[in-house]
């Protein structure tokens, strides 16, 4: 087995002290600040080759011939692989396996992989890629999602990936007041900092080990094994350090390519994308075109919402069928809507494939429904906050899918909390606090401030009957707890939470997190859908409790008392169950102390209650496990002549269930808001006839330190029934309504009826 060096060697991280509820520091913090943490792009192995991918320059073309000869003739090239070398399934995919490992007869998007090369140096590999000759016959690309459904199929599975219809209540009812709007959301990119990368190492007996940055090592393993034509146990996927994900690592990237090259060459193969390839190499957020009609009474109660939503899924399905179902379910917003007609469709085009990005369909419809609510507020002469409070959902209300909310739903509380925060001071002398910043463009007499609010929500956990689970193993060994859980730590801080949970149950000081790989522990599911704290935190909690029980039983046997006479506490202690009885000194200790030197281990799987699919005609069904809500208030300053926007402040009230780690929750909120701000005012993958015009950080702009607003956050803690610790996931909600709030503020400042994000300066003048 080749020794993979993660300089230094990757090992389990010890977690610092602290239990659930504390702002515990993350255990991998020290190695990250020292630059010693091994990201997937930092890995190396003896005899390692470098891999590179050849990608299509055309959005749609037939491949007539591929000539590998010139590449193979370059010294230092070990091998070149194409579709012909894929021994197993030719296609893969998160839901439908509709995406080729390598295109063989047709390419369907700019950037589609056609071949891959392994060579002795990245430069050699690049020269080899440049030397491959592919004879393409371009076909006119299908790039307009509105035409996709009626256009000739560009894929055997057809151009409609999925339609979701929701019919709720009375379709014929109308309101006193009707407000129409058409809204567009451009293609956002996750733009994680750590490019796609990893290392595939052949094991010498036909199998392979893959270290990779990803969101779900087991699902990756299954897809890779299927494509390689290998049984699952011949492919072991190890989590390489992940430099952010935000949904972009749900689909495989380098995985099959690197493994093919490694198996073919017999040597380890490292792949690491440059940034331009990264922009082509992962899915993006679905662009959306939405037409809405809101019906309300004169006094502001929503009567009916009609929505037509088109999501551009791009060339391959990825998770589009789930994204569009989300868009449909949350299309009306977190309001009481007695009647709803929603028609949502995800279509296939020759644009870049779209899939998961933080918010997963809810972001797009939130922009639409919140824009509608502001239009309605203006029409009715009701203040925007008041209109929302009037219609806000609460526990017991019913979604347009017919599902009644049985968990917590503090929509009104979130909104009240958001608007309760103090407003920021007016801009003063500081140049950087004006729109335009150091560009010195601002004339304060021409700067107007605007304030806007928005509320949003989405599901937590997977939906529509997906039988999700997560496994964890906890071993207590001489005062140290070892946790094995396959969670993809992508920066969100699960590694911290895991330690907090274990410490709370076992009372240990030291928790060691074993490296995650598919061979040593079962699936923990995906780091997505804001699910890991609930599912994998839940699994770690269960496993820890099983261990604690074992320890209690052992102690009870030693003491000769029934186990029920001993109590396990929330601080990881064992005490006497009978408060009055004399407590022997062996009792009232931590679980870890009670364990002594005996080793205790337990494996547990956490599942959530089953959900149902949506009815194909009516969209009715108990599809979701839980919901999380958030409200945002944004303050912007706009240079009304130049249209330059400065987002000054975003305040939020977020429904979190329970705060397990205040510092980490703050981090998710601030980070999510920054991404929402980015979508509002600067982020878009610009496409021309399917070609990405801006695959670089030069022209795909994400907020810098100079663009980040002040963030004021209130966490609303109403424990969620059924959730471990009552904690809801916090990753996505801050991203969902922050965009809409910023746009609402821009409208308020300028009076311009903005209906598309990202907002450009030229949209405002």
């Amino acid at each position: 087995m080749t020794d993979v060096r993660a300089r230094p060697r990757q090992r389990g991280r010890e977690a610092p002290a602290g239990r659930v509820g504390d702002s515990v520091r993350r255990p991998d913090g020290p190695t990250k600040v020292q630059g010693r943490f091994a990201f997937s792009s930092d890995l190396e192995a003896d005899g390692m080759l470098w891999g590179r991918t050849l990608r299509s320059p055309h959005p749609h073309a037939r491949i007539r011939a591929i000539d590998l000869g010139p590449a193979l003739a370059i010294g230092g090239v070990a091998c070149v692989v194409t579709a012909d070398d894929v021994g197993g399934a030719a296609t893969y995919g998160l839901i439908a396996a509709d995406q080729p490992v390598f295109a063989s007869d047709v390419v369907r998007f700019v950037g589609e992989p056609v071949a891959a090369v392994a060579a002795d140096h990245p430069d050699t590999a690049q020269r080899a890629i440049d030397a491959i000759v592919v004879h393409y016959e371009p076909i006119p690309p299908l790039v307009d999602p509105q035409r996709a459904a009626d256009a000739p199929s560009i894929h055997p599975d057809g151009n409609v990936i999925r339609r979701v219809r929701i019919r709720h209540g009375d379709p014929g009812v109308t309101g006193d007041v009707v407000v129409d709007g058409t809204y567009d959301v451009g293609m956002q990119d996750q733009a994680f900092m750590g490019p796609e990368s990893g290392l595939a190492v052949p094991d010498g007996s036909g199998g392979v080990d893959l270290w990779v940055a990803t969101q779900w090592i087991h699902h990756d393993r299954d897809q890779v094994a299927a494509c390689l034509g290998l049984p699952a146990d011949k492919v072991r996927v190890h989590l390489g350090g992940v430099g952010g994900a935000f949904g972009a690592r749900e689909d495989v990237s380098i995985h099959v390519h690197a493994c093919l090259l490694a198996l073919r060459s017999g040597q380890p193969v490292k792949m690491s994308y440059l940034r331009d390839e990264s922009f082509l190499g992962h899915v993006h957020r679905h662009p959306a075109q939405m037409r809405y009609r809101h019906h309300a009474t004169y006094d502001g109660r929503l009567v009916k919402v009609e929505a037509e939503i088109t999501l551009d899924g791009g060339a391959y399905a990825s998770s589009s069928s789930a994204v569009v179902a989300n868009a449909a379910r949350f299309a009306c917003g977190p309001y009481r809507v007695p009647n709803a007609l929603v028609d949502a469709v995800a279509v296939r085009t020759n644009n870049p494939p779209c899939g998961a990005m933080r918010g997963f369909g809810a972001v797009q419809v939130c922009f639409a429904h919140e824009s509608q609510m502001d239009k309605l507020a203006q029409r009715l002469g009701i203040p925007p906050v008041e209109l929302r409070l009037l219609n806000a959902m609460a526990t017991g209300d019913v979604l347009p899918t017919g599902q009644r909310i049985t968990g917590t739903a503090p929509v009104a509380e979130c909104l009240r909390a958001a608007v309760a925060h103090p407003l920021p001071a007016e801009p003063g002398d500081e140049l950087l606090e004006r729109p335009g910043g150091a560009g010195r463009t601002a004339d304060l007499r021409r700067v107007r401030r605007g304030v806007g609010v928005a509320v949003g929500f989405k599901n937590l956990m997977y939906s529509e009957g997906f039988d999700d689970d997560s496994e964890a193993r906890v071993r207590l060994d001489d005062g140290v707890a070892f946790v094995s859980c396959a969670v993809a730590e992508v920066g969100q801080g699960f590694v911290t939470i895991a330690g907090q949970v274990v410490r709370s149950v076992l009372g240990v000081a030291t928790v060691v997190l074993e490296p995650a790989d598919t061979a040593s522990v079962g699936s923990a599911g995906s780091s997505s859908a804001s699910r890991q704290t609930w599912m994998s935190g839940g699994a770690v909690l269960r496993a820890s409790r099983l261990v604690a029980d074992q320890v209690r039983s052992a102690l009870a046997r030693r003491l000769g008392v029934p186990p029920e006479s001993l109590l396990l506490t929330d601080e990881g202690r064992i005490t006497s169950a009978d408060a009055d009885a004399h407590t022997p000194p062996e009792v009232d200790v931590t679980v870890a102390q009670a364990a002594g030197r005996e080793v205790f281990e337990a494996t547990a799987v956490h599942k959530h209650r089953l959900t149902e699919p949506l009815d194909a005609e009516t969209g009715q069904g108990q599809a979701d496990v839980s919901y999380a809500f958030a409200a945002h208030r944004a303050v912007v300053d706009v240079d009304i002549d130049l249209g330059l926007v400065r987002v000054v402040q975003v305040a939020t009230g977020q429904d979190v269930g329970k705060v397990l780690n205040p510092a980490q929750v703050t981090g998710q909120i601030e980070g999510g808001i920054a991404q929402g701000v980015g979508l509002a005012v600067m982020e878009e993958i610009v496409l021309t006839d399917g070609l990405v015009r801006n695959p670089s950080f030069t022209d795909y702009l994400i907020p810098t330190f100079a663009d980040a607003p002040e963030v004021l956050a209130t966490c609303i803690e109403q424990p969620e029934p059924g959730a471990p610790f009552g904690a809801k996931g916090v990753g996505e909600p801050p991203t969902i309504s922050s965009t809409a709030a910023v746009v609402a503020a821009i409208r308020s400042a300028t009076g311009v009826d903005v209906s598309r994000v990202p907002v450009h300066p030229w949209d405002l003048i």
């Binding site: 331009d276 950087l432 150091a438 560009g439 022209d699 702009l701 450009h760 300066p761 003048i765």
Partner: protein, 282 residues
């Protein structure tokens, strides 16, 4: 072929004379992007890192002579910034601190990007560029060096060695429009320079033409409407008139960063604001 790191300007020029195909590397903030992405494969590299004659600056009568290796950070230093305020304002908007520490004014000229941040200022002040080769030196107006988008009139074997910029003799303004507050390529910029001694105003626009755009007719129109003795514009409408003239002079294109119409419109606003501020300052 090794990477050449000469220790004297004469060595650098001789090396360039021997092999004009050498890629000249000063700060590298433009060249290295192409190298990293495999778009540029230099046959050989001539690094100017250790050529002392290119560093530093001095005042020569009413001009500052900037070595071509002067970085954007150097331009922000108080002694230089107060003599060359528009140049300092432009330098502040370039990239980010590490970019400003490395990128050079000679590089900005040599790259000759239509969006090069210092170029509108250099055009507005009619900076003179000192160019050297093994065969000799010449001093050329910057407008005769930067002649097209990413195109200079430098001959094979020539290096920019210095830039002569007049010390500010009145208010100077530089305004730049970008979609983000930092690290952004200009979609429109405007440099306005008032010379109270010579009683003239010059204005150059960036990112709205293949090279920075001036309109001498507009400048003369403006000059005639300045009450130089009283230190004010003859009428408020001069501001609007100047803005319109500069907008008309702009030659923007549509690209993935911004539409031409916005760029032209932004120029009108920038020119007006620059003029208003300059006149409040004077």
């Amino acid at each position: 072929m090794p990477t050449l790191v000469p220790r004297r300007l004469s060595e650098a020029l001789d090396a360039l004379a021997d092999d004009p195909s050498l890629t000249v590397l000063a700060g590298g903030t433009d060249v290295m992007v192409g190298v990293n992405y495999g778009q540029r494969r230099p046959a050989g590299v001539l690094s100017l890192r250790r050529v002392p004659e290119l560093r530093g600056w001095h005042v020569d009568d009413d001009e500052v002579v900037l070595g071509s290796a002067t970085t954007y950070t150097d331009l922000l230093a108080p002694d230089l910034a107060r003599r060359l305020p528009a140049l300092a304002a432009a330098a502040r908007t370039v990239g980010s601190p590490p970019i400003r520490n490395t990128g050079t004014i000679g590089g900005n000229i040599g790259t000759a990007s239509p969006a090069g941040d210092t170029l509108p200022v250099l055009f507005a002040v009619e900076a003179q560029v000192e160019v050297a080769s093994a065969g000799g030196t010449r001093t050329v107006p910057v407008s005769e060096v930067v002649v097209g988008p990413k195109r200079t009139a430098l001959a094979a074997g020539e290096l920019v060695t210095a830039v002569r910029v007049p010390v500010a003799a009145g208010p100077q303004e530089f305004l730049k429009v970008g979609v983000r507050n930092a690290m952004v390529i200009a979609i429109a910029s405007c440099a306005l320079v008032v010379d109270l001694t010579r009683r003239q105003v010059t204005c150059a626009l960036g990112s709205v033409g293949p090279v920075p755009v001036r309109d001498t007719a507009a400048e003369m129109w403006l000059r005639a409407r300045v009450d130089w003795d009283g230190g004010r514009l003859s009428h408020q409408s001069v501001v609007e008139g100047f803005g319109r003239r500069m907008a008309a002079a702009a030659r923007p294109i549509d690209d993935h960063r911004a539409p031409a119409a916005y760029r032209r419109y932004a120029i009108e606003i920038l020119a007006r604001r620059a003029l208003e501020r300059a006149w409040c300052a004077s």
